[in-house]
């Protein structure tokens, strides 16, 4: 048809414009006349033999749809709390969601669970994406909370819910305990975990019990304590969802169970270490000790253990189960996880062997002295191969994925301020005399020791001098006490409460005997555990108890004393992180007033020198925990700094003198 149309068009064109066909210049043969004629076009009828052949024949057809599905695990149904709580009137439930924007009020922010970076399968990612926003989830559970979580706490809970390996390193006082308990609660309800072990320092057991009661009253928490048979029963009890135990007890019991496991399997001691708690296979390199089977968990830990996992793979996959008789957990939480900062310590070794699927570390100070301490925590979390030694850059990269750290400056813009003031105090005459004499004698003694001097010798002198700055043991004079009494009179007069920290229990007892006007309470390692909780309760509730005297070792971690507005550092600890922990007992969520921190420093004494070193360390600390610093610089108070506290000179044989310093490569470590 198209050819025909073309032909017609051509014909019309010829007629319309009178175009003449050109006459080719050819020889006259008689045949050329045909070229002058217009073509003749005729139409012919074509008979139809039937209906047109193009019949649309179409039926609706759709290929069968493919679908993909995900069924969520059933969570643990927890019995509702039936007993009415006396304080229920005082608590504030989570506020209902605000209506969407449009009525003048901004829409309430909702916090969604995000899939972790290591969740690769679609099923895993959808599991997290399809969880409800935390705000509505918690509201739906009719969770009664003393305080509505802050937005950053919601973020923390969502992050903890999704991470299988996590280090929550929020600065002290930002609510790590509440975030952890709430995340546990949600994990249990979502069927993600069914059995949890929470390990904490012994003094913090009552604190965790109290916090669980407050934030998750319906969660049954079993504290592992009592004698051996009772503990054995508690470890194996099947229905216990949350087990609470202290580090010492965990180490003792798991050591015992590992030994029994080895004996039962007849594999000899040490064989149990071939698999860690995450099921990662460790390879024992043959050494004389291992060949004779002398190495046990009591030994210094195993530099000869290597992993079969590739060093390139950040997480070794579980290859085989851990020893069968050990209690197994879906999640192990380490509170104050800096306890395992030394990866070669017995505590670290045993804790890494606890069979578990998830690992969570809690600490406000992931680095106390050296960045390398984080490697031990990462090894427990299973994000680095056993015995590997990541450098600073690798640690930084791992931190971005597995560490969540927020500081008060960042998130708690409404937290009352903290004022630090250095109280520079002159020694009393008797103290000054005693101090100068002790320093003179001590330095002479050290100089006489010459090259044989060690850091321990210096420490002894430092401690002696620090004790004199606290009070003169001979006369009992103390200018620090005078200043403290003056401050406490003022604090007590206005009904305030203060916490005082000292390095020595002896100083605390000495102070308590001299501060009876303010009814001091004592809380240190010498107080039996059972009596500690009532002391804190009394300090909170007794209007006449204005002062709590605490040791750094016992009182610096985990306690909530936000009703105290004053903190005294009567003497200084070696590590600024520990001092910060102590201060943050008071400067934390719930604090209504400003917190005034008084650091007592005696003028022209060793305390001034220590203060200078601590300030420098604090600066270094901020650099490492912040971003960008990849220098492998030790943050500990190293041997040079300790030697530098005194101008020590050894006499030479020629009658001269030369400076005494630490011997090179002695490996002396920090205080």
């Amino acid at each position: 048809m198209s050819k025909l149309a073309d032909a017609l068009d051509w014909d019309v064109a010829i007629d319309a414009y009178g175009t003449h066909l050109s006459v080719p210049d050819v020889a006259a043969t008689g045949a050329n006349g045909a070229l002058k004629r217009a073509p003749r076009i005729d139409a012919q009828s074509v008979p139809l033999f039937g209906p047109p052949r193009f019949v649309p024949s179409w039926k609706p057809f759709w290929a069968k749809l493919k679908t993909a599905g995900l069924k969520f695990p059933e969570g643990i149904e927890l019995a509702p709390v039936t007993a009415p709580r006396e304080e229920q009137q005082a608590v504030r439930p989570i506020a209902p969601a605000k209506p969407p924007a449009g009525n003048g009020e901004p829409a309430r922010k909702s916090t969604r669970v995000r899939p972790p970076a290591d969740a690769l399968s679609l099923e895993d990612r959808l599991f997290y994406l399809l969880q409800p926003p935390l705000e509505s989830w918690l509201r739906g559970q009719e969770l009664i909370m003393p305080f509505e979580p802050f937005p950053y706490q919601y973020e923390g809970i969502a992050w903890l819910f999704a991470q299988k390996a996590a280090l929550l390193a929020d600065e002290m006082g930002l609510g790590k305990t509440m975030q952890t308990i709430t995340a546990l609660r949600l994990l249990l309800r979502a069927g993600q975990v069914r059995r949890v072990l929470l390990v904490c320092p012994k003094p913090l057991i009552p604190n965790w019990q109290r916090e669980f009661k407050m934030w998750a009253e319906e969660l049954p928490v079993t504290t592992v304590d009592g004698d051996g048979p009772r503990r054995r029963l508690l470890w194996q009890i099947p229905g216990a969802q949350v087990l609470l135990a202290n580090y010492e007890l965990v180490v003792r019991d798991f050591q015992e169970m590992l030994k029994e496991e080895s004996a039962l399997s007849g594999q000899g001691s040490g064989k149990d270490l071939n698999i860690d708690g995450l099921g990662r296979v460790l390879r024992r390199v043959k050494t004389p000790a291992s060949e004779t089977g002398r190495s046990t968990l009591n030994d210094q830990p195993p530099p000869f253990l290597e992993t079969q996992a590739s060093p390139q793979s950040p997480v070794a996959s579980p290859l085989s189960p851990a020893p069968s008789s050990l209690p197994r957990f879906d999640l192990v939480v380490l509170d104050e996880a800096q306890r395992i900062k030394n990866r070669d310590s017995l505590t670290s070794t045993v804790v890494r062997g606890i069979p578990r699927k998830r690992s969570l570390c809690l600490t406000g100070t992931p680095i106390e002295n050296r960045p390398e301490e984080m490697a031990s925590l990462f090894e427990f979390m299973g994000v680095i191969p056993p015995r590997s030694a990541p450098d600073i850059r690798q640690l930084t990269r791992l931190s971005q994925e597995y560490v969540l750290r927020r500081t008060k400056n960042l998130v708690m813009t409404d937290l009352p301020p903290r004022f630090d003031r250095d109280e520079i105090i002159e020694l009393s005459p008797a103290q000054k005399l005693a101090y100068e004499q002790a320093e003179k004698d001590g330095v002479i003694q050290l100089n006489d020791m010459g090259e044989s001097i060690t850091v321990q010798h210096i420490f002894e002198l430092v401690l002696r001098l620090k004790q004199i700055t606290n009070f003169d043991p001979l006369t009992g004079e103390s200018s620090k006490l005078d200043r403290l009494q003056a401050d406490m009179e003022e604090i007590a007069a206005c009904g305030g409460k203060a916490i005082l920290f000292s390095q020595w229990t002896k100083t605390i007892d000495w102070l308590a005997a001299r501060l009876t006007d303010v009814n001091p309470l004592i809380y240190h390692g010498g107080i039996p555990t059972a009596k500690r909780e009532p002391i804190l309760k009394r300090f909170k509730e007794d209007d006449k108890a204005h002062l709590l005297l605490m040791s750094y070792g016992t009182g610096a971690v985990g306690l909530n004393l936000q009703f105290a507005g004053y903190v005294f550092l009567y003497d200084r600890w070696w590590n600024p992180a520990v001092e910060d922990q102590a201060i943050n007992r008071a400067h934390r969520i719930g604090q209504k007033t400003q917190v005034i921190v008084s650091k007592f420093i005696c003028k022209d004494t060793i305390e001034e020198k220590i203060d200078k070193v601590l300030k420098e360390k604090r600066d270094l600390f901020a650099r490492v925990l912040g971003e960008g610093d990849s220098t492998n610089e030790s943050l500990s108070m190293n041997a040079s700094e300790i030697f530098g506290l005194f101008d020590l000179k050894a006499r030479t044989k020629k009658g001269g003198s030369k400076s005494i310093g630490p011997k090179p490569a002695t490996g002396q470590e920090a205080a």
Partner: protein, 176 residues
């Protein structure tokens, strides 16, 4: 996962269909309990009508693809059958013709349901719902079910989760 299909008392389905840039469709349904916790999720692979289907289905294409093709298929695949399916797309209301569960459409504003007779609309908290005109009984049945929800329940939020999940499946497929 057990293969046994169950009808869970009081659970809700949230169904949404996404239209893709190239003209395809992708649907997902999330079943939750009364407090919004997810129980099951099903989604389809993308489906794209060809030119003939577009021409011949005309304006009925969307209701067909949304309800009969995607919605009915997804409902059939669910192990946990919800009693009430919440949607927020007009074309999904016809799903009611194909499944033995009530289907309620979330209206954007009160005005969207103002023209409807009372037996076809329901207010639940701050939400306004409409029902299929062929099933007026659905309103009362759904009212009984929705009465058990918290007063401030956000019925639109689970649909956002469905959207997020569908986008995630697209992203994952794109990567794969």
């Amino acid at each position: 996962m057990s293969g046994q299909k169950t009808t869970a008392g009081g659970c809700l389905g949230f169904l949404r269909v996404l239209e893709l840039d190239g003209g395809g469709f992708l649907g997902g349904v999330l079943v939750t309990n009364q407090i919004g916790r997810p129980l099951e999720f099903q989604c389809t692979t993308p489906v794209k009508p060809n030119r003939t289907q577009v021409i011949l289905y005309g304006p009925t294409l969307a209701p067909f693809v949304y309800s009969e093709l995607i919605g009915k298929t997804l409902f059939g695949r669910l192990d946990i059958k919800p009693q009430l399916i919440i949607v927020d797309q007009d074309a999904l209301l016809d799903l009611r013709l194909h499944v033995p569960a009530q289907v309620a459409r979330l209206a954007n504003t009160k005005d969207d349901v103002s023209e409807l007779p009372d037996e076809l609309k329901l207010q639940c908290g701050r939400h306004h719902l409409s029902f299929h005109s062929d099933f007026p009984q659905d309103r009362d049945d759904a009212a009984g079910l929705l009465a058990a929800l918290p007063g401030d329940a956000d019925l639109r939020e689970p649909l956002e989760r469905v959207t997020e999940a569908l986008k995630e499946t697209l992203r994952t497929n794109a990567v794969a």
